[in-house]
């Protein structure tokens, strides 16, 4: 790759970042108007939630199970297996719940949103709306953006619950830890403010980021089939990078 092209590529990246920022301002500005379309918002929350629920529950179960298995081995070195419930719960609430849920939602609901909006653009539905004097930013973009913010923490909670259930399944039912110790140590150590709410804040931010990227990619997708396909891919790639980067930054500030 020659220097010129690389600079172009970098320039392109900066330009898209700026466009995405402006798009965020435009969508945020359209949010008050979009509250008129609260039905559409409910539909989108239901859509994102229902679409991702099965995959989030399944993955939560397996993540909790594998977490218990791994942590059991580590904790038994120190003779601290009684803290297995605490360790599983903390890993889930603080880190894995928000992050893995966000990655799953980006792959499942984010791509669907991008493809849907991209097709609406390609088939002139967005233009048709503005011709009918309905602002597509308020009717299409803002409800989907808000839906991500609302649905993500709820899905993360489901993920965590399934994860703890999976951890319990492995730790207590399979490896034979004491049920009372598992729950007792967990509930006495995990703090609402420090552990659970921090995770929820992360989820809210991730929800906003994922849905903003998904809506932006759909909105700006070239109106062709390759264009829409390429934009859906970019939704997953960009979301994943941004989720993990934000996760690091937010964790650094929270601890």
């Amino acid at each position: 790759m020659n220097a010129n092209l690389r600079r172009n590529w970098l320039l392109q990246g900066v330009v898209s970042l700026g466009e995405c920022g402006l798009f965020f301002v435009a969508v945020a500005g359209a949010v008050p108007k979009s509250l008129r379309y609260w039905r559409e918002l409910c539909r989108q929350v239901w859509f994102v939630g229902a679409m991702s629920l099965v995959i989030v529950m399944t993955c939560g179960l397996f993540v909790g199970m594998v977490l218990a298995l791994q942590l059991f081995n580590t904790l038994s070195i120190f003779g601290a297996t009684s803290e297995l419930g605490t360790a599983v719960a903390l890993s889930l609430f603080r880190e894995l719940g928000p992050v893995v849920t966000a990655l799953l939602v980006a792959g499942r609901a984010g791509t669907a949103v991008t493809a849907e909006i991209g097709l609406m653009r390609a088939t002139d539905q967005l233009d048709a709306m503005s011709m009918m004097a309905v602002d597509p930013l308020a009717y299409v973009a803002a409800p989907r953006f808000l839906a991500g913010i609302i649905a993500m923490p709820l899905l993360a909670c489901v993920f965590n619950a399934m994860g703890i259930f999976g951890g319990h399944l492995v730790g207590v039912t399979w490896l034979g830890l004491d049920n009372g110790t598992f729950w007792g140590n967990m509930t006495s150590t995990v703090m609402l403010q420090r552990d659970i709410l921090d995770g929820v804040y992360k989820s809210i931010v991730f929800g906003g980021v994922v849905s903003l990227i998904a809506v932006f990619q759909g909105y700006t997708a070239p109106p062709t089939s390759e264009g829409v396909a390429y934009s859906t891919t970019r939704t997953v790639v960009f979301s994943s990078i941004v989720i993990l980067a934000f996760d690091f930054v937010m964790t650094a500030f929270m601890t």
Partner: protein
């Protein structure tokens, strides 16, 4: 200015008046001083090679896109200077038929037509239903009210889109290539609707189309646009008889002419290696 073309005479009866329109998109000049009048109550056809800017012109008329310079007046209002609110108010009086119908895929035919009503008028459900069914009856698709857009044929989708475009009883309808992809039967149905809407309701119509036979049946006046300018205008059969390079190519069906058959390319003999390239 093209010498063979008379300028449209200014008249108070013009519903749409375009003056000195200049537009560039990227590096490409789309309009280079376009003037155009559409009289009230008329059907005006706009023709021109693909990519000339016919769709862009319609987007100028509705303020979806602003020209670089020039004036666009619709019903006496300067579209280029309207605020967003006034623009939306103007759009409620303009119906727009998109090239690919642009029905909302999530909604049934009925809800598609009800959509603008629900957004802008707080009507009792009973009245709303009556209006929607009246519009569907007008396009002959009352029986299809509960179908989804994916279940419609191209011609039916076009007619549903037309019903949606007239739901507010507009003063002006813009048709963007309404006949493309229709079989002859569907084409004639849409054609009949355009004529009926114009004759019985007096709706002014602007029709972007390539189908000469259809245009001759319905249009009062034809504007031929090419290279950002008006190159010919007149009544359809008058234009077909006019003898200029543009009309000859457009109406005479010649493959080569002002719009070249060959995409710009280096010299053929040189490219085949028969002749040394000039330095």
């Amino acid at each position: 200015m093209n010498p063979g073309v008379a300028q449209p005479e200014s008249s108070a009866a013009a519903l749409v008046q375009v003056r000195g329109l200049h537009t560039r998109i990227g590096a490409k000049t789309i309009f280079d001083g376009l003037d155009l009048d559409v009289p009230r109550g008329s059907v005006t056809a706009i023709m021109g090679p693909s990519g000339t800017g016919k769709t862009t012109l319609l987007r100028h008329l509705t303020g979806q896109l602003r020209p670089d310079t020039g004036s666009v007046r619709v019903d006496g209002e300067e579209v280029t200077k309207l605020s967003r609110r006034d623009l939306f108010a103007l759009r409620e009086r303009i119906g727009f038929l998109f090239q690919n119908s642009a029905l909302l895929t999530d909604f049934s035919v009925f809800e598609n037509i009800a959509f603008p009503l629900r957004q802008h008028a707080k009507l009792p459900e009973e009245l709303l239903r009556d209006i929607v069914l009246t519009k569907l009856q007008a396009v002959g698709l009352r029986g299809a009210a509960q179908l989804m857009p994916s279940e419609l044929s191209g011609g039916m989708a076009r007619r549903v889109a037309l019903a949606r475009a007239i739901v507010f009883d507009p003063m002006l309808i813009l048709y963007d290539e309404p006949f493309v992809g229709l079989d002859p039967i569907a084409l004639n149905q849409v054609l009949r609707l355009i004529r009926t809407l114009n004759h019985t309701l007096g709706i002014t119509s602007i029709l972007v189309a390539h189908e000469l036979a259809a245009i001759q049946k319905v249009a009062d006046r034809v504007y031929l646009i090419a290279n950002g300018k008006l190159v010919a205008q007149g009544a359809p059969d008058e234009l077909a008889r006019q003898d200029s390079p543009w009309t000859r190519q457009f109406f005479g069906g010649e493959a080569d002419g002002p719009v070249p058959f060959h995409y710009p390319a280096p010299d053929y003999a040189t490219e085949l290696g028969f002749r040394e390239a000039h330095r």
